[in-house]
């Protein structure tokens, strides 16, 4: 046979190709136009995301298409994930702009790195092969390491980036090692190949379990769940707020995609083995995250710990897909996890968005004290932040309540009432620190009377963001259905 080069079907990867091209174009624009191009670069970045969204929407057929020798998949799940990623990255761009401009950090590198990280996330969402997963993950992670260190004058940022880099690399190593074991046991790197091999149970169990432990540990690191959570508060705290905003949103979606692709699309027959691992980590995250958050005075650290507990809640849903040997509620369970991630990203965007809105040149909102009296300074944004806090605490009518409700439903349907009670008790404890934020905003007098200034784009988007948290709380059905349909079409 001749080594004939056949061009693979590129259509499913059009959005990725566009993004890559545009990232290069933006670099060139910056190189040739210099500082004069900043507004252009920002506009081009947003336009790129918009173009990707259009392409994804146009190529979305709802069918599952494999390409690049089955390494890359385009299915309804990937399409929805990508749309969510574009959306949250675009929001990050808008929220961050004035903060970065005030500090002279709105260079093209920032936009290019975020776009490359986005490309990594898209690849993760579409991966059907262990190597593709890893490729996407590393592209995303390396870009983020650099982003955390973007404020190179700040020793705190450098420290955070260093920690993140070392621990993140370790996690990648663990993941890679685990994946190699799984390859050894199943003889394939393709995710649906793994599924077939496992279903026919030709696999070597001990090697598999061993590999699975490493894979799960790698995931835990990337998601930031206990006991692999140590980096989360440091990085959230050390990085400048726009980076924290970015880290806490889109990458969570991508990591969720990776977890689901490997554990559910690939290793679902091993669910009885990975579910208990996830369960322990989930419960520990809920406990540790909520308890540690109480002690924080820095709001970014508090949100970091709260993020840990939210990831725990999300994992809780993943552990309930298969029980008593059957997977009748699997779709319900994974939909709940998906919905939880979407809800978390919406809330996280709005919370850091408000912090960015309140920050201005030479002044960063860092501690809980800085939020004091926000209701007197700006009732509207105080209300938005209150929505986020009550939503995170799981109080209706906000999206967070329905996310928690749907996870708890999955957990109780799986018969884990004890776990549900623990989760609920610790959300109660968690409610305390969210209430404290509301208390600072509403019950205390402002310590700072400076007016809150922001561009129209930020104002509009932040308001929409806050209203979405309330709106999806009043009408939660639509988004849930979207998540469920995307998963249902792709899973079976």
């Amino acid at each position: 046979m001749l080594n004939e080069f056949v061009l693979p079907n590129l259509a499913p990867a059009y959005p990725e190709l566009l993004l890559l091209t545009m990232a290069c174009v933006i670099l060139m624009v910056d190189a040739f136009m210099g500082a004069a191009s900043r507004a252009l670069v920002a506009a081009l970045s947003l336009l790129t995301l918009f173009g990707c969204a259009v392409l994804t929407a146009l190529t979305a057929t709802g069918e599952t298409t494999l390409t690049f020798s089955n390494m890359f998949v385009d299915d309804a799940f990937a399409d929805l994930l990508k749309m969510l990623i574009y959306g949250s990255v675009a929001v990050v761009f808008v929220y961050s702009r004035s903060f970065l401009r005030d500090r002279g950090l709105d260079k093209a590198e920032y936009y290019v790195l975020v776009l490359l990280a986005t490309l990594g996330m898209m690849v993760m969402a579409s991966a059907n092969h262990f190597l593709t997963v890893y490729l996407g993950l590393e592209l995303m992670s390396l870009s983020i390491y650099a982003l955390v260190a973007i404020d190179r004058e700040s020793s705190r940022s450098i420290e955070a980036a260093m920690k993140y880099f070392i621990l993140g690399s370790l996690a990648s190593g663990l993941l890679l090692y685990g994946l190699s074991m799984m390859y050894g046991a199943t003889g394939t790197l393709e995710i649906n190949g793994v599924l077939q091999a496992l279903a026919m149970s030709q696999a070597n169990d001990i090697v598999l379990v061993f590999g699975l432990v490493f894979v799960v540990a790698g995931f835990a690191f990337k998601l930031g769940v206990v006991p692999f959570h140590m980096w989360v508060p440091d990085v959230y705290h050390g990085a400048i707020t726009p980076m924290t905003l970015f880290i806490s949103t889109a990458p969570k979606i991508a990591t969720f995609a990776m977890v689901l692709r490997i554990l559910v699309f690939g290793a679902i027959p091993l669910a009885p083995m990975w579910q208990p691992m996830l369960l322990i980590m989930a419960v520990l995250s809920i406990i540790v995250g909520n308890l540690a958050a109480i002690a924080q005075t820095n709001i970014k650290r508090m949100l970091a710990y709260s993020g840990i507990s939210h990831m725990g809640f999300m994992l809780l849903a993943l552990t309930t897909g298969v029980f008593n040997g059957h997977a009748a509620y699997a779709l319900e369970a994974y939909t709940s996890a998906f919905y939880y991630i979407v809800a978390y990203v919406l809330m996280s965007l709005a919370s850091f968005g408000v912090l960015l809105l309140m920050s201005r040149a030479g002044y960063e909102v860092e501690t809980l004290e800085d939020l004091k009296g926000l209701n007197q300074r700006s009732p509207w944004y105080a209300a938005m932040m209150m929505f986020v806090m009550f939503s995170m605490a799981g109080i209706p009518f906000f999206i967070g309540f329905f996310a928690k409700l749907s996870v708890l439903l999955a957990v109780i349907e799986a018969g884990l009432i004890g776990v549900a009670i623990v989760a609920v008790i610790f959300s109660l404890i968690g409610a305390f620190y969210y209430l404290r934020v509301v208390k600072n905003m509403y019950f205390d007098a402002p310590s700072d009377a400076a007016p809150i200034v922001a561009g129209t784009d930020v104002r509009v988007l932040l308001s929409l963001n806050g209203l979405a948290i309330a709106g999806f709380g009043l009408f939660p059905g639509w988004l849930m259905k979207l998540c469920q349909e995307a998963l249902a079409r792709s899973l079976y």
Partner: protein, 497 residues
């Protein structure tokens, strides 16, 4: 089949709240106040057809509305009222008007937010009383914490932050366990419809666990001894309007929960736990009355008296006897007591508010001889104090008397103990009244007091009429609830095992 009256009752005040919020900051307070009053009155007007159009003969749910809300879990926007819940919707909408008027000149900072919080609260509470879907109930139940948290926290007294957070977390603790119970019921029945849960067969053990989960949720809300400690804090720190809504309406939510969830869903467990509930209620009635006796702070005194009165209510719910005569009297008496307590405690807190607005103190020791400077006020206050003590011809008497009658039918000694509260209630209320109102003018501040103005006269006058009318002719109230209570008791008598 769908009626929209209940939706109107819920959303009219809430939409009104948003309109009030639109007026912005305190420069527009002069617009915010009348707007709030109009919203509150509109809120009451839309609930009146609920009473006039109510069919007294049936125990079925009326004014039913049902729309799919979250299809994935079969959650519906499902509303309806029966004889048990309809009166509370009216009471709630009625009290909201007084809260708005009572705050007219008193609240000067962030007026729009204050009014909006109460209007939202009013709509959400109507939602609680009319929800027939478990999740919808829960959503309203929890969401109503938010405005109250804000009300206590912003406009409350010096220790308001502590009280607000304590109030929120205490109530949340209870309701989260209820959420688990609701989800468990869903997994058993495949539906969140409360009416379907009433028919659901359940074993003894699940019933016991469900009963306990609901008990924690509702006992905190009622509040029953020993989980009552949030109430005195919340009452003392809350602004007058907050105390009124808490005492008059919010406390009724827990008691209502027993009738809507615990009794019909877990009847066997309710009977099993009956003696325990009676014991807890009697402790509340007797012990808390003694606690009330020694209070120095008027608001705290009325707060403890509320706990004691709510003890009567829970006592009335759990006296199951074989011929249903005692329990019938007990539950109807308890419901009458709830409505009456809504008027009386609301009026008591408004009276204390009237004095507080003038002297900025709630300590009994700071008063004395108020009758000399505020004779009209003293007359109203006397009426409400008497009603609080359960004097015949006031509304306070009817409910207590019915519960005591039921208790005597059920067990003489329980009736005897319950009856002591009439003495204790008279003791702490009248002793407080004597120290505050009678005697010589105690200090120069009291000498400077001015009697109630038109606005205050109007509020107290209307409430006085309500208290007397209900005491003299309670039939319109008991008649509405009769069929539903009868049906509930028949339902409880049938074992679900």
């Amino acid at each position: 089949m769908n009626s929209s009256l209940l939706s109107l009752a819920i959303w009219t005040p809430i939409i009104g709240a948003f309109i009030v919020l639109l007026t912005g900051d305190d420069r527009n307070a002069r617009i915010a106040r009348p707007l709030a009053l109009i919203s509150a009155i509109a809120g009451l007007l839309v609930t009146i057809p609920l009473y006039t159009g109510f069919d007294h003969a049936t125990a079925n749910m009326q004014f039913v509305e049902q729309y799919a809300w979250i299809e994935r879990f079969n959650i519906n926007y499902f509303l309806g009222v029966d004889g048990i819940s309809v009166l509370f919707i009216l009471l709630n909408s009625f009290i909201t008007i007084f809260v708005v008027i009572a705050a007219w000149e008193v609240i000067e900072t962030r007026v729009a937010q204050y009014m909006a919080a109460f209007l939202m609260m009013s709509g959400l509470i109507n939602g609680i009383f009319s929800a027939l879907d478990g999740v919808l109930f829960y959503v309203f139940f929890e969401a109503s914490l938010i405005p109250m948290y804000i009300i206590i926290g912003i406009w409350g007294g010096p220790n308001r932050v502590y009280a607000a957070i304590k109030f929120f977390l205490y109530t949340l603790l209870g309701s989260l366990l209820m959420l688990i119970a609701l989800i468990y019921l869903f997994t058993q029945s495949g539906s969140f419809s409360i009416l379907e849960w009433h028919q659901l067969k359940l074993g003894m053990q699940p019933q016991i666990l469900l009963f306990l989960a609901f008990l924690i949720a509702f006992a905190v809300k009622v509040p029953m001894w020993p989980v009552h400690t949030w109430l005195p804090d919340a009452h003392v720190e809350a602004p007058t309007g907050g105390s009124v809504v808490l005492a008059a309406i919010a406390l009724k939510l827990g008691a209502y929960g027993f009738l809507r969830f615990s009794l019909p869903i877990a009847p066997d467990a309710s009977i099993y736990f009956g003696p325990m509930m009676i014991t807890l209620s009697l402790i509340a009635v007797v012990y808390i009355s003694f606690v009330a006796l020694v209070q120095q702070d008027m608001k705290k005194l009325v707060a403890y008296s509320s706990i004691a009165h709510m003890g009567f209510v829970t006592l009335g719910f759990f006296m199951f006897d074989s011929n249903r005569m005692g329990s019938m009297l007990g539950i109807e008496g308890a419901l009458v007591q709830m409505i009456s307590h809504g008027f009386v405690s609301g009026a008591m807190f408004l009276c204390i508010g009237v004095m507080y607005d003038r002297l900025h103190s709630r300590q009994i020791a700071d008063y004395g001889g108020v009758v000399n400077t505020m004779p009209k006020f003293a007359a109203f206050f006397l009426l409400f104090a008497m009603a609080n003590a359960g004097l015949p011809a006031t509304s306070g008497f009817v409910g207590e008397f019915m519960v005591i009658l039921g208790a005597v039918k059920f067990n003489f000694w329980i009736g005897f103990l319950a009856a002591t509260s009439l003495i204790l209630g008279a003791a702490y209320t009248l002793w407080m009244y004597k120290r505050v109102i009678f005697g010589e003018v105690a200090n120069p501040h009291v000498a400077e007091l001015t009697d109630i103005n038109c606005r205050e006269f109007l509020i107290l006058g209307v409430l006085a009429i309500a208290v007397l009318a209900m005491g003299l002719y309670p039939y319109p109230f008991t008649d509405v609830m009769h069929a539903s209570v009868d049906n509930l008791l028949k339902h409880v008598a049938v074992s679900k095992l």
